[in-house]
Symmetry: C2
Subunit: 367 residues, 2 copies
C-alpha cells in the first residue's frame, strides 16, 4: 500500500483548480459546475488520490462539451423530513450535487444531530472521499456511497453486475487532519487492470476474471474484478456492494447500478444515485470526550507493532502525508494528462497553468 510515484510537471493546487475550472467553463459548464468539478478533482489530486484526480478533468470537459452531462443543471434540494433531504442533480455533474448534499446535510445535522441526503439523476462524482472530507473539515462526521455501472462479479457469479460501489467515511480529528476511509468494495479498482495492461505485469491472484468468468492474473484477459474478499470471502465485498446499491437506488429513486449503461464507451453513466449521512459529533457526546476517545484510538492504532519496514496506519494516513508533500512541491501531473491539458488549453483558449517544478531529464534525454 503506497501512493504511486508520478513522473511529470508539478503545479500548485490553486493554479490547477483555476485551470481545470476554466477548462470546464470553456467547455460549456456553468460557474458552479466548473468550480465543483475543479474543487473535487484537485482535492483528490492534492492528497495523492490520482486515479480520481485531475487526470479525469479532460474526460469531464468532454462530457460537458458533448452534453452527455448537462453543463448548466438546475440542482434542487428538497427537505423530505426533519432529517432527510434529496438533491436532484438534474443530470449535471455529480460533484456539484454531492457538495450540495454535504452542505445541506451539515445544515440539517446541525439542527437534528444526523441527516441523510439522497442524490438522484446524478453522474460520476469522482472520489467519494472528497465529499465526506468536506463535511469533516466543517466538524461533521459523514458517510458517503455511490453506485456505478457493472464492473464487479457478484459472489458465485461469472460476469460483472455490481459497480465498484465505494464506501467513504470521514470524522473530524481535533488536532490534525480528519480520518478518512475511501474504499471500493471491489478487490481492486478497474484502473489497476488498465495500468497492468500498460506495464505488462500480472495481476495479483483472485482479483479479476476473464470473459468466461474464470479467475485470471492476465490483465489482457481480465474483463471484470472480484469483490473484496476474493474467491473465498467475496460474499463480504459483494454484500457491501449490495448495501451500497440499495442506498443509491431504492433510497434515491434511481434504478440499480447494473441497469445503468454508459452513454459512450469509456464514459460513466448518468442518472445514478449517491447517498450521504452527516452527523454532528456534539449531538452524541460532549466534544471534549469525543475528541479524547478518538485521539486515544488513533494514537493506539498508529503505535501498533508492524511488520519489518512497515508502519500501522489509520485510514487516510498515507494521503495526509502525501498532501503535506504536494502542498510544498505542487501536484505532479502524469505526462499523458499534461499532454491532454496542453491540447485542451489550445482548443479552448485557456492558459496552461504555470509549472512549479518539472522532473529532471536524464542527460541526453529528449527535451
Amino acid at each position: 500500500m503506497a501512493i504511486e510515484k508520478i513522473d511529470g510537471p508539478r503545479v500548485a493546487a490553486g493554479e490547477l483548480e483555476t485551470f481545470v475550472s476554466a477548462l470546464l467553463a470553456a467547455g460549456g459548464a456553468d460557474a458552479p459546475s466548473a468550480a465543483a468539478v475543479a474543487r473535487a478533482v484537485v482535492d483528490a489530486s492534492s492528497r495523492g488520490v490520482d486515479t480520481h484526480g485531475v487526470r479525469l478533468a479532460p474526460w469531464y470537459v468532454q462530457a460537458a462539451r458533448s452534453r452527455v452531462v448537462k453543463p448548466k443543471p438546475k440542482v434542487a434540494f428538497t427537505r423530505k423530513a426533519a432529517s432527510v433531504g434529496h438533491v436532484d442533480a438534474d443530470m449535471g455533474f455529480g460533484h456539484l450535487a454531492s457538495y450540495r448534499a454535504i452542505e445541506e446535510g451539515c445544515a440539517l445535522a446541525a439542527e437534528t444531530g444526523i441527516a441523510a441526503i439522497s442524490v438522484g439523476r446524478s453522474s460520476h462524482h469522482g472520489a467519494t472521499g472528497v465529499y465526506v472530507l468536506a463535511a469533516a473539515r466543517k466538524g461533521f462526521a459523514a458517510l458517503g456511497v455511490t453506485h456505478a455501472d457493472s464492473a464487479v462479479v457478484p459472489f458465485s457469479g461469472v460476469k460483472a453486475f455490481f459497480g465498484t460501489n465505494p464506501i467513504a467515511f470521514a470524522v473530524p480529528v481535533k488536532k490534525g487532519e480528519p480520518m478518512v476511509l475511501d474504499m471500493a468494495t471491489s478487490a481492486v479498482p478497474f484502473n489497476r487492470i488498465m495500468l497492468r495492461r500498460a506495464t505488462g505485469k500480472p495481476l495479483p491472484p483472485e482479483v479479476a476474471v476473464d470473459r468466461s468468468g474464470r479467475m485470471t492474473t492476465d490483465p489482457d484477459k481480465a474483463v471484470a474484478v472480484m469483490p473484496v474478499g476474493g474467491e473465498h470471502f467475496g460474499y463480504k465485498g459483494a454484500g457491501l456492494a449490495a448495501v451500497v446499491d440499495v442506498l443509491c437506488a431504492p433510497f434515491t429513486g434511481m434504478r440499480h447500478g447494473a441497469t445503468l449503461k454508459p452513454p459512450v464507451p469509456g464514459m460513466q453513466p448518468v442518472g445514478i444515485g449517491h447517498f450521504f449521512l452527516v452527523m454532528q459529533p456534539a449531538a452524541f457526546q460532549a466534544l471534549s470526550l469525543f475528541d479524547r476517545r478518538l485521539a486515544d484510538f488513533l494514537a493506539d492504532l498508529r503505535s501498533q507493532k508492524a511488520e519489518r519496514g512497515q508502519r500501522v496506519m489509520a485510514p487516510g494516513d498515507l494521503e495526509i502525508e502525501e498532501a503535506k508533500q504536494r502542498a510544498r512541491l505542487g501536484i505532479p501531473i502524469d505526462r499523458k494528462t499534461w499532454a491532454d491539458f496542453e491540447r485542451l488549453a489550445g482548443e479552448l483558449r485557456v492558459a496552461v497553468p504555470p509549472v512549479k517544478s518539472a522532473p529532471r531529464r536524464k542527460p541526453g534525454g529528449k527535451k
Copy 2:
C-alpha cells in the same frame, strides 16, 4: 458459503426461547434481560446463524450467575437531539440494550426520517444482524455495528488490535423477507479457527497469523485473524474495522475495542459500545417506488449467471432458506450445547425443552 450441518436434536423455536429465557431467569436475570437474550439467540439460531445462536446461551447464563454482566440492569434512554439518542446499558446484557436502541430508533425515525442511537456501557449482544432485522420487520431499514476486544491484526501489523467488528444492514422487502447483511470485518470469525482446531483441517491461506505475526494455515498456531481482504487488500477490512470502532467508541463515549479486556478468559468484555442507524424508507421515496426499485434489484441480482453448481444470492438468502426449513423441522442443537442444556437444566431446575426430532443413530451406535 453454506450453512454447516448440525447433528443433534431439533427443538421448536418457541420451546427453545421459553427454555433459554427460563435458564437466564433462574441464573438471576430479570424478565426483560432473560427475554431479550432468549429472543436474540433463538432468532439467530432460527436462521442458521449458529455461531451466535443458542450455543452461546450457557455462556450468557454463566455471565448472569457470576454477575460479570449485570443481571438486573437499569437501562436508560436519553434523547440527545431530534434524531439522536443514547441507551445506557448499565453493564447489562447487550441484547436488551440493543433491542431498546432499535425500538427507540424506530420511534425517532418515524418522526424525523432517520435516527442514530448509540449504546454505551454494554456487553456482547450476539449477532448484530438480529437487531437490524428487528427494525426491518417493522418496516425500517437499519445499520448496526459493534466493536469488541482484540482479535484482528491491523494492516501491516503483527498482533491483534481490532475486534471482529461486524457490520449489519437490513432493509424491508415488500413481498418477502428483509434483505440482511451481517458480516465481520475480519476475513473469518475467530470461531472458524476453533472449529479447525477441533477438526484438524488447515485454515485457508491469508486468514490468520501466528504468535510472531506471520501468516499461518495451522489452526493450532493461529492466534489472531486477518481483516477481510487478506495480505494484499486487508487495509479495506481494517479500514472498515476502524470506522466501526469510531462509531462504537467516540460516538458512544466508550473506549476503543483494543482497551477492553475480557473479565474472565473466554468471556467477552463489558463496557463496550454499539451503534445503530434506523431509516424510514417512506421519508426518502414514495413506498411504491422504493419497493419496486428494491424488488427489481434483488430479482436482477438473483438471476445472474453463476458458476457451475452455484447460485448468485442476495445477502441473507441462505439464512432465509434455512429459516424455512428450521421452522418446519425445528432448530438443531449441537451435542455439546445440548449436554450443556441438560446440565444447566438440572442445576437450575428448569425443564429441558421437548425434542421435536432427533437424528437417527447408526444401528449399533450408542444410544
